[in-house]
């Protein structure tokens, strides 16, 4: 970055303006900021890598991404999960060019260095003749992440050993993510990912998608066409099943995480769901009452979508989905990856119904998400001009109505609001202004920490 750290810090105060609640367009379109983000956001934060069910057996691997960079997630002989940079330590060749599979060893196509499932360098051609046996192999294993965590089947990692541990970093976001990862009946964990990951390029900045998932209850008009047609899981009605009488809420959490959901009112009787199939409908009703038993009062909180900072966006119920927003080499280029989850022990009818529904809802061919991609694409493009970039984006909606609520962690706005999105940028700015995690923590504290 051409700018000094002091100048950058000052600029960030203007760019993400807490007084006016505006955010400059340059953070979406500027290439130097994009580069700095790779270092200060993606090399620093906890990132989602994949689902445990994708590597169920020893020797299984799945090639994922952390920011722009390719990584390999493996399960070694002892059953332990590892995540490595997918780049050979000799000349940087991409060690694995398959998407997934099972292997005893990763052998580099260039000169043949080979690495075990735990990343250690185990084979070097002409080790005796060329290296005179002098190479210290133990120093040249694949670069492994600094911290790794498994939360209810989802694998996470960070490159930064100074980053707060996973539990601390996620905090109360885990309360909301449970509605994605727990069984529909409220038993802990137990989800599996359908085979295959949808991957596609969209010419937009990753944050345009992240902020949409962080709290945009406002963009119903985007999806008017699909609402008119109807694609829901109950004989195609609407976009999703109803949830009875509820109050929508936005929750802003620590470390830039944000969640949208619905709070049920009254004793909330069962509202029919998954009506397209009898077995699925009965299962959904059964799960509804079991969930009430298992969750107690907390069952009133129904997750919609959210974004675990920086780029793990998800949708808890309909569809039930992980949506990774990877930066892809320039400010206006993202690579989106999409997984869909289902209870591993759900009846086949449920798996079929939800898979069909998810495919017609989400992803590039999804009748809902096509319109999101169009908006993110053209909003970003139209924000790049000299005149356009003088005008910041406005995040003033609901700015004076934040409250605490006994049943909902985070700072809450009921109905529509934009404190979630703004809060995400506030944390982003703190990260971008800081040289290391100590500095991030100091800034976070001086702003007054969130619950």
């Amino acid at each position: 970055m051409a700018m000094s750290d002091a100048a950058l810090e000052q600029a960030l105060e203007r760019w993400v303006d807490h007084g006016r609640r505006t955010v400059t367009r340059s953070i979406f379109v500027d290439e130097e900021l994009y580069q700095l983000e790779q270092e200060r956001v993606f090399a620093r934060c906890w990132l989602f890598i994949g689902h445990e069910s994708q590597i169920s057996k020893p020797g299984d691997y799945f090639v994922s991404r952390m920011g722009e960079e390719s990584v390999i997630m493996t399960r070694d002989r002892q059953g332990e999960v590892h995540v490595f940079l997918n780049s050979c330590m000799h000349r940087g060749m991409r060690v694995c060019r398959y998407d997934e599979g099972n292997t005893p060893i990763f052998s580099c196509p260039y000169h043949g260095w080979s690495y075990a499932l735990d990343g250690s360098l185990v084979g070097v051609p002409y080790f005796k003749e060329a290296y005179r046996s002098e190479l210290n192999k133990s120093e040249w294993g694949l670069v492994e992440v600094a911290q790794i965590a498994n939360y209810k089947g989802t694998i996470w990692a960070t490159w930064d050993k100074a980053a707060p541990n996973f539990q601390e970093y996620m905090g109360h976001m885990l309360f909301y993510m449970d509605d994605l990862l727990d069984g529909r009946d409220g038993t802990p964990g137990g989800s599996e990912a359908y085979g295959g990951v949808q991957k596609w390029i969209t010419p937009t900045n990753w944050k345009s998608a992240a902020e949409n998932r962080a709290g945009d209850f406002y963009h119903g008009i985007s999806h008017r066409s699909v609402d008119l047609v109807g694609i829901g899981p109950s004989a195609g009605k609407g976009r999703r099943d109803g949830q009875g009488e509820t109050l929508s809420f936005n929750s802003l959490l620590d470390y830039g995480h944000a969640m949208m959901g619905s709070l049920q009112l009254g004793d909330a009787p069962w509202t029919p769901a998954l009506q397209s199939n009898k077995v699925a409908a009965e299962w959904a009703e059964h799960c509804y009452y079991e969930r009430k038993k298992n969750y107690g009062n907390r069952a009133r909180v129904l997750g919609s979508g959210g974004n675990a900072f920086p780029n793990f966006s998800f949708w808890c119920r309909q569809p039930r989905r992980i949506f990774m927003l990877h930066p892809a080499g320039e400010a206006l280029k993202s690579e989106f990856w999409s997984w869909f989850l289902v209870d591993a022990n759900a009846p086949q009818e449920v798996k079929d119904l939800m898979r069909h529904y998810s495919l017609r809802y989400s992803g590039p061919a999804g009748m809902t998400e096509q319109d999101d991609m169009e908006n993110w694409n053209h909003a970003a493009k139209a924000s790049r001009g000299v005149i356009a970039s003088r005008q910041p984006y406005n995040y003033q909606m609901g700015m004076h109505s934040m409250e605490d609520h006994p049943d909902l962690p985070g700072k809450i706005v009921f109905g529509m609001g934009e404190q979630n999105q703004f809060g995400m940028y506030a944390f982003w700015a703190d990260l971008m202004a800081s040289r290391d995690w100590d500095e991030v923590m100091a800034r976070r504290q001086s702003r007054g920490s969130l619950p």
Partner: protein
């Protein structure tokens, strides 16, 4: 060549011509935005399947395509949803197709693989061009495996498998049927 052989070669050519003309006609209905007429070419029990394509090790190519009715795909559906996609375009507020894209399907390498009389399996290649708004352009290239069925005197599409030759989809969305 015997007269009999000549006759059967002639019959195969006529058949090939008939099938090829149907595929061209179908593409032109779509490209000319005669969308409802296009929907009428779908058999009631049509299946439209477009798998994801994985990079897999040599010898493991049975895992290259994601499985129909089981794994994630780009598209895996029947007539209701296909017709819904067309209805969505016709709402006039489907922003990803408003204004409408300019779409050109080019169909080539047509091969009748199996002719069962009132059902025909046919393979072809496609090069489909989408241009929209000002300069946005995408090219979708791949292979198709179709089954056509004769219903009340006209051909209908009973099954279509679209194998798009891409791993990471290079387009932001798939608002069109290939």
């Amino acid at each position: 060549m015997t007269t009999e052989q000549q006759q059967s070669a002639m019959a195969a050519m006529v058949r090939h011509h008939e099938i090829e003309q149907f595929l061209y006609y179908e593409a032109s209905l779509y490209d000319e935005r005669r969308f409802l007429e296009w929907v009428d070419l779908l058999a009631d029990d049509v299946r439209y399947f477009m798998p994801l394509i994985r990079n897999v090790k040599f010898g493991e190519h049975e895992r290259e395509e994601t499985r129909e009715m089981e794994e994630l795909n780009w598209i895996d559906e029947g007539k209701d949803t296909l017709a819904g996609r067309i209805q969505q375009i016709l709402t006039g507020v489907h922003w990803a197709e408003e204004p409408l894209s300019r779409i050109v399907h080019s169909i080539s390498n047509v091969q009748v693989v199996e002719d069962r009389g009132d059902e025909v399996d046919v393979k072809c290649n496609f090069v489909t061009y989408r241009n929209r708004v000002e300069t946005e352009t995408d090219l979708f290239v791949g292979r198709r495996e179709d089954t056509l069925r004769m219903v009340d005197g006209s051909w209908k599409i009973a099954r279509r498998k679209v194998i798009l030759a891409q791993n990471v989809l290079m387009a932001k969305n798939l608002t069109l049927l290939l």
